[in-house]
Amino acid sequence: MTQTPEPTPFTQAGDTRTSAKISRDTISAVSVAVLCVLLLLSARLVSPALGSWTQVETVLVLGFFLVVLSYGQGLVILSGGLDLSLPATITLGGILATSWVGANDPNAWYLLPVVLMICGLVGLMSGIGVVWLKVPPFIMTMAMSIIVASALLGYTNGTPRGAAPTAAVALMKTELLGLPTPVIVLVAFVAMGWLFQSRSIYGRYLYAIGTNLDAARIAGVPVTMMQILPYVISAMCAGFVGIALVGYSSGATLRMGDDYLLPSIAAVVIGGSSILGGRGTNLGTVGGAILLTTLGTIISALGMEFGLRTVIEGSIVLFALLLLREELFQKLRNLWR
């Protein structure tokens, strides 16, 4: 990361030092994880059954979708963009997996990757719109979302058909080495994501263009490619989530992705990334996603009316944000030295 120029004129002083930056991101990821564990343990107050290993497994399986999704979202945000097309892309993956792959189950081994590529194509179009047509990411991805959703409505005539491909069901419903398969896949996915984002040249490029596009260009970063790439990856992640979702509940609906957009952004931000780009780690994002899922599990165990539950959920999100705030890390770091 040392060669990457990091002129950050708009953020607080002290951010320019690479060592400080890494330690802040690490602290942020660690504190999210600590918060998660605390939350799980304190859940015993709500119900004695909570906080058990079974519950951890449930959280990890349910959190699978959000973790994968927010990884893609995190990359896009890191590069200075935002991906609002996730709901439609999830649905695209789900619909294609059921109505198309489900009907040709023996060929799933090559059709499922094709589904991912079709989803990637949506991301490619978003990326091209953002980079070449200079449409703001917010608008471009929102418009893509509307377009894809409408195309799916027309394609399915309103009625999604077919059953989940066996491979997708196996992904979500089997056990491997005594653990649910999705948990193992999740660990592998996170490891790969970490290698890409934190240990590869591409990851460094993304940090650079998210921090300062012009500086990155001058420093020789292939800016165009690196701006488009996150959208493609994000769309493929969303497609993967779509496939996993139909494996989990064996059918697709046209609104299956709707509930995931805001949580995917929240997970990234809670994980310590800047919504303006250039800052954040994927481990932090994973922590954010798990934290939100844990919270959801505990909240639904509360025997309260929905309104109050929602208020509590929002308050805890706010609390987490305040706790993981910039200044706090600044102080923590000062103690460290």
Binding site: N157, T159, T253, R255
Partner: protein, 406 residues
């Protein structure tokens, strides 16, 4: 120069628009068809598209095919969008609007304006409180209380249960739950350990049930609204025995009720609830009024409560519900397919293909509804009338009797 160029392009576009209008008018003039709008608030789940498909199939069945110009409109989950859509339809000279209303009250004023211009409003499944509209709905038929009593009977009056509700902040969900609570609250032995919202969706139900199971591993029964098949899947995922449960009409649930393997795991219960067939019934009523075959003042019309206990589930061989069968096999429809879409009495002219594709049955003709078919629904304040008095026996049991006493 630039302005001139702009003018030219505007003129070209206007010309194109003009030819479109002309074509549309030419079409409208031959045959004097009734212009009927089908206004959905949203589409994308099996229920909504089946409801729309059977109306499309009926409209394409003789003699309706020469009498009706049916135009479908999907406005979205936002009351304002449906208000705007109704307004456009009224302005466009609609004869009738068949609609799934997104809100029981927000559309009232627009409906009033439409009624004043002579438009017939037929609401299906959902209702509106405006009294110039016809409401065709099962809502007043007591889904909540009857299923709750059936569950209590299965459990022998005691046990820990989950409530899998619908959409928070929705009046239909509230009505069902109020009905159910009128029964559950009578039995001190019934303990509601978890109450969650399924958004009437299999996948959400499955996820929410999984969360509830993590917190409350001990559960003896589940009272569910639509999305019930997700409950079964969540129980199976967690490697747990199945329990008595009630739910709505998904093919997955009905097939499971009839499946000996599932029964051996402990599944018992009843399938009831909302049916897309209501849209077809509403459409046929509207057509009979428009063509002068029936005189009917605007009112609340009850669609009979579907009621299929596990013992009565029968898988169909053919394309329609004949010989008392009431669910299609897996080779024909997905588990999310809502079974209460065909009705041998009210809608004999359509079959499963109509429900899936909106296609008419070859050779079928429209059969008139039985003359005395209309059953007036109970008043339910805030649901199908406002202001009004609630019927005194609002939560009266109609399908089951209490076999256990509190």
């Amino acid at each position: 120069m630039n302005i001139n160029r702009m003018k030219t392009s505007v003129a070209t576009a206007a010309l194109a628009a003009a030819s479109l209008t002309w074509a549309a008018q030419a079409q409208a003039q031959d045959g004097e068809k009734f212009k009927i709008y089908l206004s959905l608030s949203y589409s994308g789940n099996a229920w909504q598209s089946e409801a729309a498909n059977i109306v499309k199939a009926l409209a394409a069945t003789p003699p309706y095919d020469t009498q009706v110009e049916l135009i479908e409109n999907i406005s979205g989950t936002d009351p304002q969008a449906q208000i705007a859509a109704y307004e456009s339809m009224i302005d466009d000279g609609a004869d009738a609007i068949i609609s799934f209303p997104i809100s029981s009250t927000a559309l009232n004023r627009t409906i009033r304006r439409g009624c004043d211009e002579g438009v017939l409003f037929f609401m299906y499944d959902g209702t509106v409180t405006e009294d110039c509209a016809y409401n065709v709905s099962f809502l007043s038929a007591g889904f909540g209380e009857n299923t709750a009593q059936a569950l209590v009977n299965e459990l022998g009056g005691k046990g820990k249960i989950f409530l899998s509700r619908g959409v928070p902040g929705n009046s239909v969900d509230q009505r069902h739950t109020d009905g159910a609570m009128s029964v559950f609250s009578k039995y001190p032995g019934i303990e509601i350990v978890a109450e969650y919202y399924s958004f009437w969706d299999d996948r959400t139900t499955q996820q929410e049930t999984a969360k509830a199971l993590a917190a409350h591993p001990q559960v003896d029964g589940v009272w569910a609204q639509a999305g019930e098949y997700g409950v079964i899947q969540a129980l199976l995922d967690a490697g747990r025995p199945l329990v008595p449960m009630t739910g709505e009409n998904s093919a997955g649930f009905r097939r499971a009720l009839a499946d000996p393997e599932m029964q051996a795991k402990g599944l018992r219960g009843v399938s009831s609830g909302s049916g897309p067939a209501q849209s077809g019934y509403a459409f046929k009523l509207a057509m009979e009024i428009l063509t002068g075959q029936r005189e009917l003042e605007p009112q609340n019309i009850e669609y009979p409560l579907p009621w299929v206990p596990a013992a009565e589930v029968k898988i169909c061989e053919g394309d329609s519900y004949t010989d008392g069968c009431n669910v299609f096999p897996e080779s024909k429809v997905p588990s999310s397919f809502v079974s209460e879409v065909l009705n041998p009495v009210l809608l004999p002219e359509i079959n499963v293909e109509s429900a899936l594709n909106g296609t008419p049955v070859p050779g079928a003709t429209i059969q008139p509804l039985p003359a005395d078919v209309v059953v007036t629904a109970n008043n339910e304040p805030g649901i199908n009338c406002d202001p009004c008095e609630a019927a005194p026996d609002l939560y009266k049991l109609t399908k089951v009797e209490a076999t256990v006493q509190p």
